[in-house]
């Protein structure tokens, strides 16, 4: 069953306006937060077990605790770059509930004592950016942003920044470079942004969904928030489901929810064929087979145990008419296209992967190339500035071993085992 905390009022068209948002309890928690001590808010977020919804799942309160106490200006950056393929939850959140994000951000900014925040929105999301910009203006006009918000003595300015088409700007240090008006190239960590980020100042980067959730932790308290989910995966989460199901879309379910239930209940079951596989967590996450899906629950620990990850919460469902060689071709094209080129293993490796998968499809590959694919992928892991290189390697290391027969067949016969000769 869906548990709608973030999305409770998303069907209400008015929810995106300040008036409509206030009618549903909007900005009540901001007032509540202002009566709390900043350190108590951080403690509450820590106690809630909230983990970052952008991909890595890092505990939010812990990250906030890394900020140095050196009197430097702190910045808050909302990651609304949403570039992970097949993720579309942040766009919906911004379009339907911009004030929910803004309120979550002001509370978070107050907690970490930050006078300035940016929402970095991917360039393609022109409409979402317009909605958010309008909401920010409404908030300023109502005294919810700017000087002495609600008479609390807290000042905060917020602005949006529109990217211009680069997946790598979703990586936090890439995003910071981009916001500073440079190429969006990641930087080596440490130093982590919390210590040295935007303009070399302490900076907290959090995903849209993470920051919006903060409001509900203040509303319900950490204990109530933790009632949903599992021990290590607290709360509810939005899942963007796409592919071969009858009702693709965004669904908010408690973490720990069985993937089969999501497919059968919320998504209306399979479309066009029997269940074959799923890619949870964005295309960087290794694929899981139908058999594994039966046992999969949507929490950080279960998916990690299966050798994959929850990631951004995108799930692509595939039926038995899907050719895995073809799927990998699409995926490896993406990473090759998006590598920023700074690190040799990533720049060269993504090129190799793309070329090798291509050669399988074009009929110029040999069976030894299957192992070569995995070898190249293995060499790309854990040795680059950012995790894009790993993100490109992992899908290969998931798909190739699990569907090796399809690669062998393609190489031997020159056409897809699944699609048959007619599609050759």
């Amino acid at each position: 069953m869906e548990v709608k905390i973030l999305t409770e009022h998303y069907d209400d068209d008015n929810f995106r306006t300040l008036e409509g948002y206030k009618a549903k309890g909007g900005y009540v928690e901001l007032e509540k937060a202002f009566k709390m001590k900043p350190e108590d808010i951080i403690a509450e977020v820590k106690a809630s077990g909230l983990r970052g919804r952008g991909g890595a799942g890092f505990p939010t309160g812990v990250k906030w605790g890394f900020l140095p106490n050196n009197g430097e200006t702190r910045y808050l950056l909302c990651n609304a770059d949403e570039g992970e393929p097949c993720t579309f939850k942040d766009r919906m959140m911004m379009e339907r509930a911009p004030h929910q994000l803004i309120e979550g951000m002001i509370i978070s900014a107050f907690a970490i004592s930050s006078p300035k925040s940016y929402i970095y929105i991917r360039g393609e999301y022109v409409y979402a950016a317009k909605v958010v910009e309008k909401a920010i203006k409404e908030a300023y006009d109502a005294g919810l942003l700017g000087k002495n918000i609600m008479g609390s003595g807290f000042d905060h300015d917020m602005d949006i920044y529109l990217g211009a088409g680069a997946y790598i700007c979703g990586e936090e240090t890439g995003m910071i470079s981009s916001l500073e008006g440079k190429k969006g190239q990641p930087k080596l960590k440490p130093p982590f942004p919390a210590v040295q980020g935007y303009l070399k100042k302490p900076t907290i980067v959090n995903n849209v969904e993470t920051l919006a959730a903060v409001k509900y932790i203040i509303r319900d308290g950490a204990e109530a928030y933790k009632k949903h989910g599992t021990e290590k995966s607290a709360g509810t989460k939005l899942f963007s489901v796409a592919g071969d199901v009858n009702k693709p879309g965004n669904y908010e379910v408690p973490l720990g929810y069985p993937l089969m239930d999501l497919i059968n209940n919320e998504c209306g079951g399979m479309k066009g064929g029997e269940l074959k596989a799923a890619i949870p967590g964005g295309t960087s996450a290794p694929i899981i087979t139908a058999e594994e899906i039966q046992k999969a629950t949507l929490d950080y620990e279960c998916l990690a145990e299966m050798g994959t990850m929850l990631g951004s919460g995108s799930i692509v469902i595939m039926n038995d008419k899907r050719c895995m060689v073809d799927m990998l071709k699409v995926i490896s094209h993406f990473y090759h296209h998006e590598s920023c080129g700074q690190c040799t293993p990533c720049r060269e490796g993504t090129g190799w992967l793309h070329k090798l998968v291509g050669s399988v499809v074009e009929g110029t590959a040999q069976e030894t190339d299957i192992d070569l694919l995995c070898e190249v992928a293995n060499k790309m892991k854990g040795r680059t500035i950012c995790a894009l290189s790993d993100a490109a390697a992992l899908p290969v290391l998931g798909i190739v071993p699990k569907f090796r027969d399809e690669f062998q067949f393609f190489i031997r016969e020159g056409y897809s085992k699944v699609k048959g000769q007619a599609h050759a």
């Binding site: 949403e82 570039g83 992970e84 393929p85 097949c86 993720t87 579309f88 942040d90 766009r91 991917r122 360039g123 393609e124 999301y125 022109v126 409409y127 602005d159 920044y161 529109l162 990217g163 211009a164 088409g165 680069a166 997946y167 981009s178 916001l179 500073e180 008006g181 440079k182 190429k183 969006g184 935007y198 303009l199 963007s240 489901v241 796409a242 592919g243 071969d244 693709p248 879309g249 965004n250 890619i279 295309t283 995108s314 692509v316 595939m318 899907r322 073809d326 799927m327 699409v330 995926i331 993406f334 296209h337 998006e338």
Partner: protein, 157 residues
């Protein structure tokens, strides 16, 4: 020689003051140029921006070349960007793009002879539940079929 309109110059001036560093104004200013220049950014426009912003051309070029949304050569009145990432590819957008290119007798990334269209395959646009989808200039078109997509392009004014 390209020159921004008075409003465009005013916009750039405001952007220069909007962020903590003036370089952050490069992306918004490139967007403004692209808007006023029929969808792409020319070399002389970069020189013009450089003068206007007091930022070296090389620095602006660095940003310009990094981001895919800035067009490096003229594009059609309608820039049709078809998503060919996983969910859309599964829903047939690769074949749909081939159909467009075929019917309009044009190569990917090139402009049709009448200047109406440029077709480009792009990565996931975050509307995968509505696959197959494409973006024409700023607007999303979702849940397409080859027929509906063809009609849509025909009817664009």
């Amino acid at each position: 020689m390209f020159e921004l309109s008075a409003d465009g110059k005013e916009f750039v001036k405001k952007e220069l003051a909007r962020y903590e560093t003036i370089e952050s104004a490069i992306i918004p200013s490139l967007y403004q140029v692209q808007k006023e220049n029929g969808g792409w950014v020319s070399e002389d426009a970069i020189a013009h921006l450089s003068d206007l912003m007091g930022i070296p051309e090389a620095r602006i070029n660095e940003v310009f070349h990094f981001y895919t949304m800035f067009n490096k050569k003229p594009v059609g009145k309608y820039h049709v960007q078809v998503c060919c990432n996983v969910a859309c590819a599964m829903a047939g957008t690769r074949e749909m793009t081939d159909m467009f290119l075929d019917e309009h007798k044009v190569k990917e990334g090139e402009m049709t002879e009448d200047g109406r269209f440029t077709f480009t395959r792009v990565e996931c646009l975050g509307a995968c539940d509505k696959a197959p989808m494409m973006q024409v200039n700023e607007d999303y078109y979702e849940d397409l079929t080859p027929e509906s997509a063809r009609n849509l392009l025909r009817d664009l004014k």
